[in-house]
Symmetry: D2
Subunit: 244 residues, 4 copies
């Protein structure tokens, strides 16, 4: 009987890696990202720490690519594999641009990860969740990563805001549909700059003013451990110094 | 010098017609809908009441179709035509269905009006708004029709909720971008059953329990008349008997 | 048979006056404020414009004072007087102050207008509303004036935010209780600086950057005219130049 | 050098007890409730489990009573005592009643715990929080217990909603004021029936359909452990079977 697994989409450096490492302390993890170049070091890192991980390069916005990934997962973990937790951490494209100068292709392209991607991923992973899975200590959990723009549409950010509002809408709808089946769907509003390689040098004058990816991971893990009596459907994460 | 015009997308029977008739009391109106069959009677009705109206059959989700419509408008009203008000009243597809039984095509198809359509329409009409337009008594105004699902993602309604949350995100972003230019962008949450041909027979036991399309129209007109000192960016409309 | 009346609490210079003048175009108005000094010029102004107005100096936070005012109203307009519209526009005390330096008296004192006052006023005026009142063209309406702080608790503003969140809570509860009886309860979020004597000199560099009190009044009047099929329970009012 | 302590107001049976027991695993706890009868068994229980607890009967709505409690705490734990965590879990009075039948005394009385009590408690405990306290592993934390009515004012519940909206306002204001100082202020929306002695027999037909007080406690503890890089300011807790 195979152990339940965790699947993380958007398992690049930074938040995705931190989440993967956290869930790998308990589950074999499947890491999805666009290219092997971001997957390989993470798989190696987790494996060396005694965890179990595989990386699958994938275009989450493509149904075929998602289907292939699921087939690969079943081949690897057995046809009866169940998903204990799946995390949709794929970034929405952020680019502040005057609305009238935005081409339809730019606008729609920026929405694809949040719409096609989230749909493909949520459907594929929810269909592998089983509340009575052997070895499943916690309710199966689907978590979406949100942002400031989940709650507020900023100037010049129509596409980004539409993505993030949309993800939140999906999270709420799925929480209401799958909650009564014992599946936990939750949404995290990450409001602030995340402390990663890319943001080195930002806000260095204020100590601890960037969100710690390990604590995003810890918070997601906490959500996963909640029993069905006590589900959190939304929480925010924000540095102490953030204006909001 | 041509008079500013109003453009209404989703000018079908019910709300769209009511809005068109209201704005036609002041402006020549351009009515957009999928087919001439819903446009013709409305154009005739407005013309007979002394208003000026043209109907253009269009697929708002197609950039080319939108571009052609704008060309037709310019041909008719002159190349310097300005838009006093544009209303995006195209319905999002509503179908409650288990998420795992929804195909990608169904899901994405249901989003097109709210994403591609709203983008095409907002961009085309905003680019024709001029705050200093001669004959422009009120700030140019873009209004989006929202729904209960603009604020709450219901079970089995991921696609619909994503559409409506998305429209609201776009409305907020555009309000923040175009407000400072003197253009009024607003969002109306229509929360309840609208009293139309289609809903005849619904809730007949409670008098006045359906929203009056003429009062949606009146409310949109009210929004349009607000000066730039005092813009409303969101209002709800709900029958007195509605549980919310 | 006496005509329905409108009652405005917080009928001082600025917004209260503007509301009073607007409703006085249709109804005899009763103006409530702390002192005759702010009531007298307004009563005179309305009377000279052909309207009917009386001013009653009152401490709205005192149940006795409210009761006396209602008795005076009944004496003046007859025991069968009905209220067509009542507007609670009493300011909540705004003072940004470090929480740890705020005395209990300051804190609680700042809440009185929003809690005791709103309770006394809402109860007194709702009890005089009759949906079948002769001469009552529109559903009886109770409107509360809110602020930015109705939605967001700012730093150093606990008392003010508690006041404004509280007023919004009351408005929602009353809307849900009295709506089904045909009474319209609504809440307006006034988000920005209002253009009054007191704010002369503020933001003079940006034209039209303060909210026009007459348009607050016009918006309240619009709310009042909505039929029970189509009630708005909340709207915001904000200058085009406001950051939000 | 004395160890930081935790203070729990509303330490009655059910949620308060569960929170107290959880925080007593790490800190000496001070339990505040109206009477010794609810404090004594809890103090005994915690002491017998190896924890350290004292109970102080108190009327949190009275500034004098709160001041005496703080003096007692300083006498017991030393004048340099610091507070690691304080939790305001005092119930707001819930009674659904027609608004026009509610007396001013009832209405205002029902608000006292949420207004006077929360003010007294927040001020007293925040003034004892020190971010550099020796033995203080986590940022000092103040948590408020909210409810469904924190977000929605229900019919016949004006007073209760005003209480709960008010608490949320205070939590937001304090979070924005004290966050930059490294103090974590958070608000938990408890949306559902809590599984306590009093609710025995409720919803017995659906397993696990009541919120587990131990998981409220666990969630509060989790909030407390978050570092200042990653504060959660609001989360909800809801059984899987809850309609929302």
């Amino acid at each position: 009987m195979s152990k339940p697994i965790a699947i993380i989409a958007g398992a690049g450096p930074g938040t995705g890696s931190a989440i993967a490492r956290r869930f790998a302390q308990i589950y074999p993890v499947v890491l999805l990202a666009r290219s092997n170049s971001s997957l390989d070091p993470l798989v190696k890192d987790i494996t060396q720490s005694g965890g179990s991980a595989i990386g699958i390069p994938i275009d989450v916005t493509s149904p075929n690519s998602m289907t292939s990934a699921i087939e690969e997962i079943k081949k690897k973990f057995g046809p009866e594999t169940s998903v204990a937790a799946s995390i949709y951490n794929v970034a929405s494209k952020f680019s502040r641009k005057p609305f009238l100068e935005t081409s339809a292709d730019e606008f729609l392209g920026s929405l694809e990860p949040s719409i096609k991607g989230a749909f493909n991923f949520a459907q594929a992973t929810l269909s592998l969740m089983r509340v009575d899975a052997e070895g499943g200590k916690y309710p199966p959990t689907l978590i979406f990563t949100g942002a400031t723009a989940s709650l507020k549409g900023g100037s010049g950010l129509s596409g980004f805001a539409m993505s993030k509002f949309g993800i939140r809408a999906m999270s709420q709808s799925l929480a209401r549909e799958f909650g009564p089946k014992g599946i936990h769907v939750s949404h995290a509003i990450i409001d602030g700059i995340i402390d990663t390689e890319k943001t080195k040098g930002f806000m260095e004058d204020i100590p601890d003013s960037k969100i710690d990816p390990d604590w995003i991971a810890e918070s997601y893990w906490f959500l996963h451990t909640q029993p069905r009596t006590s589900f959190t459907h939304e929480l925010d994460l924000r540095p102490y110094s953030e204006t909001w």
